[in-house]
Each structure stands twice: as structure tokens, then as C-alpha cells.
């Protein structure tokens, strides 16, 4: 065990863990004040439930010995009781295996939490908990095995994905789409005004996400080396360029530049750089971020035409941004940054990598959408996925959690 590498992985794990409360704030600020606790609670639930499921089984399904064909890991790591000094296929990694599993746990948590951005304001709390519990095992773990474990079939084919363009971003985007289609739009959407109740809360969330994302991408080198430094730098560059791209879109098409747009652009840039962070040069990171900012700004405006109430744009930002990142990785990847990577089309590597990336996009989107749709349908048909109309009107904070986010005080209502 290399202690510096382990320290880097542990630090990155802490940063990724911190992203989930950051996401809770980012999302919480965007909903109406009657639903802010409910959506934050979804993130808290992910922090608790996914942790337990990861330790119990999902971590092992992802990183245990391959059961065959690169399709799934076995239960050798279940309970994290007996951890080999290096995980299957990761013998080149000198960070402690346990630290790697801890770090990867944080990815599963935030990916599950992302789904709440689509389902907010109407999903039953208990159903959300069941949804993400099943989904972590049935959707997340297989995808993580395919891509993040070197023994997985996509990784084995040569698919590159530095920190989760597929497993985290495309997966969350298309999984959310599936749940949203089963759930239906919010009552009153899009006619009623559903403005963010606290944009500063969302900007704070963005700040935490940005901070954490440096570890999210940086830590994926699983070692403190030049690749890690590049990954951190590229994340910063793509966030900046994404922010600028989104604002350019707004200014040129709609004559204003919003703070929520800036925040969303920063996220879009970081989403897109996620698969690329340790494989591309700084100039490419700027291009990738800029394109993602522009494209995701456009994408989130299309849901109104499609009539899909993906409330906080998980598909538009994470799904679309993830696809963009994977495609552009096929163009910009270069071994000069990471010898363990590959050269993309524009780096003289031909179409091989691009083909692999496209395959991974299609596979991830289809698998995530399909299986999640089945899970959502099953829950919907049994215990129900959605609160009653009356409860939705009153707000989920009161009706799901018996709480008000903000209260004045006296008589439970007036400041005294």
C-alpha cells in the first residue's frame, strides 16, 4: 500500500461524499419552499441506503471477481470483510483496496441522489428509497463493473471513461428519464409558476459541487501522479468553459445571463469532462466544457417541447453532458497525457476509440433506461410511486415528513 496514493483516494472520497449534500442544496434551492426538505431528504436517503447496500453487496458486484464475460462481479467482497490487497484487474493500483471501495461507494451515492432532480415534488419518500435501493444493485453495480472494473466487458473492449461519463452521468440521466416517464409531470406543469425558492442555496450547492468535483475526477487516477494533476486541472477548465458556454447561449438567444444558468453551465462542463479528465490536454478541456455548456443550455429548453417534466434537468445536463463528454473523448483523448489511455480521432488514433465510446453510450443509456423503467413500473403498480394530488398541493415537506422548511416561530407560525 502506497500511503500517498491512499491519502489521495481517501481525500477524494471525502470530497465526493461532500458533493451529495452539495447536490441536495443545489436541487433544494431550485424547488418551491414546500418541497425543499423532501428533495434534500432524497439525497440524505441516498447517503444512508446506498452506503449500506454498497457494503453489503453492490460494491462486490462491481469490483469482485468477475463471474464470467465481464458481466458482474461475484460476492467475494460482500460485507467488506475480506479485502484483497489489490482488487481484480487493479494490480497496478497501490492505494489501499479498501480506500478504493470507499471512494467508489461515494460515486454510487451521488448517482442515486441525482435521480431526485427529476422526480422531485411528487415522488413518495418510501418509494424513492426502495427505488434507489433496488436500482443500486440492478443498474448501478452492473454498469460500474462493466466500465470501472478492468475485468468488465466494456473496459475490456477498450472503452475509456475516466470518472464516470457512463456510470454516473449517462446512467443518472437516462435512469431519471425512465422514472419521470412512469411518474408523469408535476400537477400544473408547465403552466404554473414553479420558480426556485432560493437561488443562493443553489449557488452554494454549486460551490460545493465544484469543490468536490476536483476530487471526483482527480481521485479517479487512484494515484497521486501527473494524471491526477491533469484531471484536476481539466475539471477546473471545463467548469469554467461550461459556465461561459451556457451564458453565451443565454445572452445570444434570450438577451440575459442568469446566475442559475452560470451554475448549470459549470455543472454541464464538469459532467462532460468527467469521462475525459485524465485523458485530454488543457485546450481540449476548454473545448469540451464550452460545447457542453452550449449544448446543455439548449437541451434543457427542449423538455417543454417534449412535454417531459424532468424537473431539474437530470437528462438535459447529466445525460446530454455525459454523451458529449464520451463522444469528445473519442476525438481528443491522447496518450501524451495518459499513457494508459488511447489516442482519439483528432489525435491520430483513428475511429477505434470513438467507436468504443459510442458503443458505451448506447449500451449505458439503453440499459439504464430499460432496467430503471422496469423497477419504476413495478413500484408504481404495487405500492405506488407518487403522492396523492392533495399531498402534492400541500407540499411534500408537510405531507411526507411532517415538517416545514422555514417557520417564523410562535404558534408555530409567527415570529415572536
Amino acid at each position: 500500500m502506497n500511503t500517498t496514493d491512499t491519502l489521495w483516494v481517501i481525500l477524494s472520497a471525502a470530497l465526493v461524499l461532500f458533493m451529495t449534500p452539495g447536490l441536495a442544496l443545489f436541487y433544494g434551492g431550485m424547488v418551491r419552499s414546500k418541497n425543499v426538505l423532501a428533495i434534500m431528504m432524497n439525497s440524505l436517503a441516498a447517503m444512508a441506503v446506498v452506503t449500506v447496500i454498497w457494503v453489503a453487496i453492490a460494491g462486490s458486484l462491481s469490483f469482485g471477481d468477475d463471474l464470467g464475460g465481464g458481466l458482474l462481479g461475484n460476492l467475494s467482497l460482500a460485507g467488506l470483510a475480506h479485502i484483497p490487497s489489490s482488487l481484480p484487474g487493479l494490480s497496478g493500483v497501490h492505494a489501499s483496496s479498501l480506500s478504493v471501495l470507499l471512494y467508489q461507494m461515494m460515486f454510487a451515492i451521488i448517482t442515486a441522489a441525482l435521480i431526485s432532480g427529476g422526480t422531485t415534488d411528487r415522488i413518495k419518500f418510501s418509494s424513492f428509497v426502495i427505488l434507489i435501493a433496488v436500482w443500486t444493485v440492478a443498474v448501478y453495480a452492473p454498469l460500474a463493473h462493466w466500465v470501472f472494473s478492468p475485468t468488465g466487458w466494456l473496459a475490456h473492449r477498450g472503452v475509456l471513461d475516466f470518472a464516470g461519463g457512463t456510470v454516473v452521468e449517462i446512467n443518472s440521466g437516462f435512469s431519471t428519464l425512465a422514472v419521470v416517464l412512469v411518474l408523469g409531470p408535476r400537477k400544473g406543469w408547465p403552466r404554473d409558476s414553479m420558480t426556485p425558492h432560493s437561488v443562493p442555496l443553489s449557488l452554494l450547492g454549486l460551490g460545493i459541487l465544484w469543490f468536490g468535483w476536483l476530487g471526483f475526477n482527480g481521485g479517479s487516477s487512484l494515484a497521486m501522479n501527473g494524471v491526477a494533476v491533469s484531471a484536476v486541472l481539466n475539471t477546473q477548465l471545463a467548469a469554467a468553459a461550461g459556465l461561459i458556454g451556457w451564458l453565451i447561449y443565454e445572452r445570444t438567444t434570450e438577451h440575459y445571463a442568469t446566475t442559475l444558468g452560470a451554475a448549470s453551465g459549470g455543472v454541464a462542463g464538469m459532467v462532460a469532462i468527467t469521462p475525459c479528465a485524465g485523458f485530454v490536454q488543457p485546450y481540449a478541456a476548454l473545448i469540451i466544457g464550452l460545447i457542453a455548456g452550449l449544448a446543455c443550455a439548449k437541451a434543457v429548453r427542449m423538455k417543454f417541447k417534449l412535454g417531459i417534466d424532468d424537473s431539474l434537468d437530470v437528462l438535459g445536463v447529466h445525460g446530454v453532458g455525459g454523451v458529449i463528454g464520451m463522444v469528445l473523448l473519442g476525438l481528443f483523448a491522447t496518450k501524451s497525457i495518459n499513457p494508459a489511455g488511447a489516442d482519439g480521432l483528432l489525435q491520430g488514433g483513428g475511429f477505434a476509440l470513438l467507436g468504443n465510446e459510442l458503443l458505451a453510450i448506447v449500451v449505458t443509456a439503453s440499459f439504464a433506461f430499460g432496467v430503471t423503467w422496469l423497477i419504476a413500473q413495478a413500484i408504481s403498480k404495487t405500492i405506488g410511486l407518487r403522492v396523492s394530488e392533495e399531498d402534492e398541493l400541500k407540499g411534500l415537506d408537510l405531507t411526507q415528513h411532517a415538517e416545514s422548511a422555514y417557520s417564523g416561530g410562535g404558534s408555530g407560525r409567527f415570529s415572536s
Binding site: 404554473d192 400541500k394 411532517a402 415538517e403 416545514s404 417557520s407 408555530g412 409567527f414
Partner: protein, 114 residues
């Protein structure tokens, strides 16, 4: 021309319907206040670390409309029609006499000020 003040307490989520209903009868000015009502409609329970609080004050909106006396009935009817949901807590309307109305900008008085 005599002037009246119509005050209406309504459910907050009906504000768009009510605004439309009022527009249809020619009301193009009003003042809204966020209030809390207490009445037959039950409130709710909140719980924080095991401490239960019965909250019987329900969020409502209060609308104030100044108008000529001859339009009062029409406006009240429009309010009832657009604000009612049929369930408890739909609210109240009351009408009070006014002695003067002034438009601050121009110092116009009476009906002209509306």
C-alpha cells in the same frame, strides 16, 4: 359615485384563477397580502425531534379591491365563482364602505382614482 372596498380571503393556489375571473369583469387593480387564516379548515401537525406542534393557521391570500358601488355584486360573484373549490377553507369575502379614494400619483379623487 359611492365607493366600496371588497376584501377576499382565498386559497393561495387559486390566485391565478381569481385574477383571470376578476379581469373578466373589468377589475384591473388590486392589492394582495399573504395572511394566515384560522377557521373550520384543519391545520396540520409538525414534528421536530419528537416534539409535536399543531399548526392551526393555514396560509391564505387576502385580496383588497376598491371599486364603484355598482360593480360590487358583479365582482363578488366573480370572486365566488373563481375562488371556490367546494372544500372547507375556501375563504370569505366582505364589503365595506369607503369615503374617499385618492390616486397618489395625480391626486385624483373618487372614481377617477381607481
Amino acid at each position: 359615485m359611492e365607493l366600496k372596498l371588497i376584501t377576499a380571503i382565498i386559497k393561495p393556489f387559486k390566485i391565478d384563477d381569481v385574477k383571470a375571473g376578476l379581469k373578466a369583469v373589468g377589475v384591473d387593480g388590486l392589492t394582495v397580502t399573504e395572511v394566515h387564516g384560522f377557521g373550520r379548515q384543519r391545520g396540520h401537525t409538525e414534528v421536530y425531534r419528537g416534539a409535536e406542534y399543531e399548526i392551526d393557521f393555514v396560509p391564505k391570500l387576502k385580496l383588497e379591491i376598491i371599486t364603484n358601488a355598482n360593480q360590487v355584486d358583479e365582482i363578488v360573484n366573480a370572486l365566488v365563482a373563481s375562488a371556490a373549490t367546494g372544500s372547507i377553507g375556501d375563504g370569505k369575502i366582505w364589503v365595506s364602505p369607503l369615503e374617499t379614494v385618492v390616486r397618489v400619483r395625480t391626486d385624483e379623487r373618487g372614481s377617477d382614482a381607481i
